[in-house]
């Protein structure tokens, strides 16, 4: 309902329930509002938005006074100005009298407010306070400039659900501090910078050189698959100065993590590749684009029939689409794959088999609506921090029951109702056990099972041996906990249950089985297709969803269309040429084929197999065996270092396009700055290369004539039913749209499978617990190495190592080890250690902690100081999805200072390849 009121004599309309301040702001009238964040509830602390309301006593604060019909509001009468001016004068009295120490912000909103009230000199002697904290590399806190409005605390607690900072002390002695008044860098602060964004005075201020932004560009964060909206502030020299959050973005709602807010300065890093490079006589020499592309085209034509490409899940949908089109049409191969092989291929594989579609079924919003959340095999606080805010909110605000399943203690364990700490590689037994409890206790959704699924009886029979006692003996999880988890999942306290998982389930030799076990649980409980339930594999890269959607997989055309005659025919007609019918190689196949000499040339776009593959020494041997390697990237990464040709690509900030996030939301990526050096957008480079290849092969090169990424998107949408209704125009006006969106008037689909599954009925797929892992500890290698990620670095670290603040927060590799293991190995906390497996070694610093189980260590797979976990990991892989077993291998740990116990001999070939 609309309310009519008058503001300063002007008739205005406002939504019922909105505040007077919202109505004032909508009317275009200025009024100070220092403690009111537009996106947050009113705090009511600064008292600078006081107004006069006819017929009401006093001067209500407009931020928390609702509008009412026929209300007459006066924002600028002498009476209200007099009081507001007094409040502002008291506020200014908290600040130093000299010119504010913060030239960048100039006390931002406070300055505007004071000028509005002609308060240029404070009426009181300064009551400035000297408390300050500059321990965080990204921002500092100067209480001198703080007016105690509380917005930073609100941002930390209510927006980010972290609560690292609070107002401590009482009365005039109050200040912003942390628990125990420790320096912020030593608190639970995650450096997300929401406090910086919220501060109206610059008391919490980024550590940046003063500069003026000339342009703001709304785009999408280049880090994880959550897909947060960011606004790039850039100067006239094409430099990204700082990043603001984007409250309009439906996936992030104004939230960002440290990487999104402070981690994009890599764009302007001096290490950026600026010209094409060709290896001549073993050394890179700078080359022109023509030279590099002609040479590359020659080589690819030469090796046509033995080529493969890795597409980039960091690049846009358009980039991916053009690359797969090039490989299929011009080079005649389906051997194109991307990093999903190394993260969620088991999830996609299992979902395709059981449901017929390989994506997250629901939306981030469902995390907040769920009555039960299972977070298995992932650490969202580190990898998907903005998704983690929703999990914390679900627990803290809405009372959801959170069940963490992870051998390692993660931050979310602090919020968990149950934490099931299974032995690595025993998830199938755990989930089968839960399913058996659900069946035995009559908690199954019989209606759902009967109407929506098939294969139930056969699957049910397969569970017979997974009794609670048996499961406990396999997994190490007390049976009471497992039983309770099953009960809560099947019958959450309210709404539905949402199952969220990550690489902890997939990066195993039994990864696909794990995912099937999860899907079986969701099917038997009917936890799909509704608000607050669903299955949610958290996607890693910003566009790993989109890269697959765009067809960068060896077995599917864009939009997961099969390589069936009908689809092939459709694409052949559109593209004017024949397409290969046989599936191509997946990433892990490519390594084998290269090693064995059958694969001769590779085109690697924005990928770095020599850091992301398991058993890096072996991976290097395989890649080195190629006859031709072209790498297209923004930095000279480990793979590029041994390439024949290196092509400089633009970063996300320098191009237009789209990313598709974990909740299937297609979002616009917008060009903010001109390309660095001679770098070009990936789609542009690939198209140019493709035209040259076509020319050489006598093919129609006009298939790769694109003027703008929009042309590519339109072509892709025309051939891809799931995004057929999406256009750039819609994305610009409506914001991101969740596929499937088949028609221009379709609003997008927040929840999949409401009425049916793409394959018709959901299929139960019986799975058995096999050996937990291919390589288990023995006397020489007594510990299990678990790998994963960390908040302050991104994957291998190619980009985050080039962000100063992130390096300051995490300069070296941390090896988490249980106190008992540490004692046994003679290792003390913070000591430098060496970790060895049968395949290699690394050096890092010990963190002695009970966060890991006894017998297991954890090392993030980022490469720091030349040490990377993937020198140790095992290339045994899941037989179905062919994902490597990054999560389990056998290692030993020693103090770095101790002499090597075993002479380094030839690499032992112990990796077990499963059929």
């Amino acid at each position: 309902m609309t309310i009519k009121l008058t503001i300063d004599g002007m008739p205005v309309e406002a939504r019922e329930g909105s505040s007077i301040l919202e109505a004032i702001n909508a009317s275009g009238t200025y009024i100070p509002q220092l403690c009111k964040d537009p996106a947050m509830p009113a705090i009511g602390a600064c008292r600078t938005c006081l107004v006069q309301v006819e017929g009401r006593r006093g001067f209500p604060a407009s931020c928390h006074t609702p509008v009412s019909e026929n209300m007459v509001v006066n924002t600028n009468s002498p009476e209200v100005r007099r009081i507001r001016q007094g409040v502002l004068d008291l506020t200014l009295g908290m600040l130093p009298t000299e010119t504010p120490s913060q030239p960048l912000a100039e006390h931002k909103e406070l300055k505007t407010a004071s000028r509005f009230h002609d308060l240029l000199t404070p009426g009181y002697e300064t009551r400035a306070r000297d408390h300050s904290d500059s321990s965080n590399p990204f921002f500092s806190v100067e209480m001198d400039d703080c007016i105690l409005c509380g917005r930073c605390v609100e941002a930390c607690q209510d927006l980010q659900q972290i609560g690292a900072i609070a107002i401590l002390g009482r009365g005039q002695d109050a200040f912003i501090g942390t628990y125990g008044d420790e320096p912020i860098a030593e608190s639970i602060c995650t450096s997300c910078g929401s406090c910086v964004a919220a501060c109206p005075t610059g008391a919490i201020e980024p550590k940046l050189d003063p500069a003026n932004a000339v342009k703001q560009t709304s785009t999408v964060c280049p880090y994880c698959g959550v897909g947060c909206g960011i606004v790039l502030n850039t100067d006239s020299d094409g430099k990204v100065l700082w990043v603001d959050d984007d409250p309009e973005n439906q996936s992030s709602l104004g939230k960002l993590c440290v990487k999104g807010r402070f981690g994009v300065t890599f764009v302007n890093h001096g290490d950026r590749l600026t010209t094409p490079l060709i290896r001549k006589n073993g050394v890179f020499t700078e080359a022109s684009w023509d030279e590099a592309l002609d040479y590359t085209a020659d080589k690819l034509v030469e090796h046509r029939g033995a080529t493969a490409a890795l597409a980039s899940a960091k690049a846009t949908n358009e980039d991916g689409y053009v690359l797969q089109k090039f490989m299929r049409l011009a080079l005649g191969t389906n051997s194109i794959d991307h990093c999903t092989r190394l993260c969620h291929s088991p999830s996609v594989e299992a979902m395709l088999r059981s449901l017929g579609s390989g994506a997250t079924s629901n939306s981030y919003l469902d995390y907040e609506k769920a009555g039960c959340l299972i977070i298995a095999g992932c650490d969202p606080s580190a990898n998907h921090p903005v998704a983690a805010t929703r999990f914390r909110k679900a627990v803290d605000l809405y009372g959801a029951k959170l069940i963490v399943i992870n051998p390692k203690r993660i931050e979310l364990c602090d919020y968990a109702y149950l934490w099931l700490r299974e032995k690595p590689g025993t998830d199938v037994a755990l989930f089968n056990g839960m399913a058996k409890v659900i069946l035995d206790e009559g908690l199954a959704d019989e209606h759902f099972v009967a109407e929506r699924t098939e294969g139930f009886e056969e699957w049910k029979a397969s569970l017979a041996q997974y009794t609670p006692d048996f499961v406990e003996s396999i997994t190490g999880v007390p049976k009471e906990q497992m039983i309770e988890a099953a009960r809560i999942y099947a019958r959450p306290p309210f709404s539905g249950s949402c199952f969220v998982w990550g690489m902890g389930l997939t990066q195993h030799t039994n990864g696909t089985a794990n995912c099937h076990a999860v899907l079986n649980l969701a099917l038997v409980s009917g936890q799909m297709g509704g608000r607050g339930n669903g299955i949610s594999p958290l996607r890693g890269q910003n566009n790993v969803q989109g890269c697959g959607d765009a067809g960068c997989t060896p077995s599917n055309l864009p939009g997961y269309q099969d390589l069936d005659p009908e689809s092939l025919e459709k694409f052949a007609r559109a593209w004017g040429g024949r397409l290969p019918e046989e599936s191509g190689f997946v990433v892990t196949d490519m390594m084998r084929e290269a090693e064995e000499g059958r694969l001769e040339a590779m085109y690697v776009v924005g990928e770095n197999p020599l850091l992301s593959e398991p058993d890096l020494r072996h991976a290097r041997e395989a890649i080195e065996n190629l006859k031709f390697l072209v790498v297209q990237d923004i930095f000279l990464n480990e793979t590029a270092e041994i390439a024949d040709v290196v092509l400089p690509a633009t970063s996300f900030a320098e191009k237009d396009g789209t990313f598709t996030n974990s909740e299937r939301r297609v979002q616009r990526v917008r060009k903010a700055i001109e390309p660095v050096g001679q770098s070009r957008a990936d789609w542009d480079i690939t198209s140019d290369l493709a035209r040259r290849v076509c020319r050489r092969l006598g093919m129609d090169e006009s298939q790769f004539d694109y003027d703008h990424s929009k042309d590519i998107f339109d072509e892709m949408a025309g051939l891809t039913p799931i995004i057929a209704g999406i256009t750039y125009e819609r994305l610009d006006t409506e914001g991101g749209i969740q596929w499937p969106c088949p028609t221009p008037d379709h609003p997008g689909t927040p929840i999949l499978y409401e009425d049916s599954f793409p394959r018709g009925l959901g299929k139960f797929v019986p799975v058995e617990q096999t050996e937990p892992a291919a390589e288990l500890p023995n006397r020489r290698f007594p510990l299990i190495l678990n790998t994963g990620r960390m908040l302050y670095h991104w994957h291998g670290g190619t980009i985050t190592r080039r962000v100063e603040g992130l390096m300051a927060r995490a300069p070296e590799l941390e090896v988490s080890i249980h106190p008992k293991d540490a004692k046994r190995a003679g290792i003390s906390d913070k000591e430098e250690v060496r970790v060895e497996s049968r395949r290699g070694e690394l050096e890092g610093r010990a963190s002695v902690t009970e966060a890991v189980r006894e017998g297991e260590i954890f090392v993030p797979f980022v490469k720091l100081r030349e040490s990377a976990a993937n020198f140790l990991t095992n290339r045994a892989f899941d037989p179905s999805a062919k994902i490597p077993e990054y999560k389990v291998c056998a290692v030993r740990v020693e103090p770095k200072s101790s002499p090597r116990k075993v002479r380094k001999g030839p690499r032992a070939m112990t990796a077990v390849m499963r059929p």
């Binding site: 009511g44 006081l50 928390h64 007094g86 107002i167």
Partner: protein, 535 residues
């Protein structure tokens, strides 16, 4: 246990309880030696081999008489021995054991018989003791004592014969107003919470009582905790509350202890918990203690504290009845308000009346204490009639009414009658009922500065006008006192009064200027004199 069983047991006990002694021991009287008196008397009685009990009672409010020992010889034959010291123990024993005490007996040269409120004049004669009726004369640990004097009859009657709506309507009709300071009609709050139709609903008993010079709620809890439990049970019933939080000031250990003891007894005998008095009514009570701070008396800050949040006020609206604890409908009532319920509802159909008010009377009067007078009594009557005026040789020049959130009245203004709302537009309020008398021996400027200092120290820090403004007021007052400010200093003070009063978020900030504003208005000469030195 149902009510008739309770009552017959209590009556049985009452018939056989004589003789007994009660030492009025509370948080205050302990400071003047009542604890020692209790121990010595108990020891002396034991030594004599007597079976008669020496028990603890709450203080009856006559601070000036403390320590007080009550001797109950027989039904209707009760003595009140005042100013008892450790040295008087043997004399008490002989008074008690002589068997010659009668209504004309004296103690330390004064009549020893129990004084009756409402008769004659003086401290007792001018009071109308409803809430205070039994305080000081019953054992706060004894449910029998309370029930024998009519306790729980009202609750039993309410549960048996009135619907929730009937209780709400009756309380609205009887015009019961909140005694915490705002005098909002209690029944309207209850109706508001009910009208949301949402549950769970909460009742919070505000026993924070953090302001200086107010000590009524802790006296009630020390002297008659069962009355509070009965009162809150009636309220919880009428609201349909799923849970009641009894929020007791963090320093009021004596009060909290006695309420918790009483609650144990009540739970054991079915007066709290499920099916109270056999009725379809569950009373779930949790005692919470404050962590300190004047602001905790502010209801939304108190709710934040219960939730485990920082103790700062919330914005309004929404009001607690719509969205209080954890966003649920919540009624917050003061201890004194709830303690009016058992007597108020004991006579259904009675005419509405403004009732009584407990007044914490302190400062320069002959008979300070906690007194209960009818609404409408003048301040002068309380100061001179009940309190006996100043000691010989002193002249009253004014009072502080309503504590640091109230204001000053000068002597000529004392004929104002107490009642809800402002006693004076410049600041003085009845508030939660504190009257502090001052005389010529203190400077009114100093009185104002002390109150301002309190407000500055207790500002919770949330909103700018209160946090910064009270500090600036305090600094200015100091400068005025030291003769460093001219007349413009008084103008700055007046401006700050408006900024803090109109600008602050919660009632405490809005009322913080009261002492300064009323001081400037009613003791103008003292301030003029102070600034004259600077000019």
């Amino acid at each position: 246990m149902n009510y008739s069983e309770l009552k017959s047991k209590a009556d049985r006990e009452a018939r056989v309880r004589f003789p007994r002694a009660l030492v009025q021991l509370g948080g205050c009287t302990r400071t003047v030696g009542a604890g020692a008196v209790l121990q010595l008397l108990q020891a002396a009685v034991a030594k004599k081999g007597l079976m008669s009990p020496v028990l603890v009672a709450g203080c009856d409010g006559a601070c000036h008489d403390a320590p007080v020992v009550i001797i109950e010889m027989a039904e209707g034959l009760t003595f009140r021995l005042t100013h008892v010291g450790p040295a008087d123990v043997n004399e008490i024993l002989s008074f008690w054991l002589a068997g010659r005490a009668d209504s004309s007996s004296t103690w330390k040269g004064r009549p020893a018989a129990w004084p009756s409120a409402g008769e004659g004049s003086g401290f007792w004669g001018r009071q109308e003791r409803r809430v205070m009726r039994d305080i000081g004369y019953i054992d706060p640990h004894s449910l029998d004592d309370y029930v024998a004097r009519g306790g729980y009859a009202t609750l039993d009657n309410v549960l048996r014969s009135m619907t929730l709506d009937q209780v709400v309507d009756e309380v609205i009709r009887l015009e019961l107003r909140g005694r915490g300071g705002a005098y909002f009609p209690a029944g309207i709050k209850w109706r508001g919470a009910r009208a949301t139709g949402r549950s769970p609903r909460y009742l919070i008993v505000n026993a924070e009582e953090g302001e200086p010079g107010i000590y009524k709620d802790r006296h009630i809890m020390e002297g008659n905790p069962f009355m509070l439990l009965e009162g809150l049970a009636i309220a919880a019933y009428a609201i349909g509350a799923d849970k009641t939080y009894l929020y007791v000031n963090g320093e009021a250990n004596e009060a909290a202890g006695r309420v918790e003891d009483a609650l144990d007894v009540a739970r054991e005998l079915g007066l709290a918990g499920d099916n109270v008095l056999g009725a379809d009514f569950n009373l779930n009570i949790e005692v919470r203690r404050g962590g300190g701070g004047y602001v905790l008396g502010e209801e939304s800050a108190l709710m934040n504290s219960i939730e485990g949040q920082r103790n700062v006020p919330r914005t309004k609206p929404p009001f607690p009845v719509e969205s209080g604890l954890w966003g649920q409908p919540t009624v917050i009532n003061n201890v004194e308000t709830l303690c009016n319920l058992p007597t108020l509802l004991a006579n259904p159909g009675a005419d509405p009346s403004p009732g009584t008010k407990l007044i914490s009377l302190s400062g320069r009067v002959q008979r300070p204490g906690l007194v209960e007078v009818p609404m409408g009594t003048t301040v002068r009557e309380i100061v001179y009639g009940v309190g006996g005026g100043p000691p010989d040789g002193y002249d009253v020049i004014g009072v502080v009414a309503g504590g640091p959130s109230g204001g000053l009245l000068n002597e000529s203004m004392l004929d104002v009658a107490i009642g809800p709302g402002m006693l004076d537009p410049e600041g003085a309020v009845l508030g939660s009922g504190g009257i502090t008398v001052f005389d010529t021996s203190v400077s009114p400027v100093e009185v104002v500065r002390r109150l301002a200092r309190y407000n500055a120290a207790e500002s919770c820090s949330k909103c700018t006008p209160c946090r910064e403004g009270t500090k600036r007021m305090l600094d200015l007052l100091g400068a005025v006192q030291r003769g460093e400010e001219g007349r413009s200093g008084l103008e700055k003070l007046a401006y700050l009064n408006d900024v803090v009063g109109f600008g602050s978020l919660c009632g405490l900030g809005q009322m913080a200027p009261g002492p300064v504003r009323s001081g400037l208005a009613h003791f103008r000469e003292a301030f003029e004199e102070a600034v004259a030195n600077a000019e």
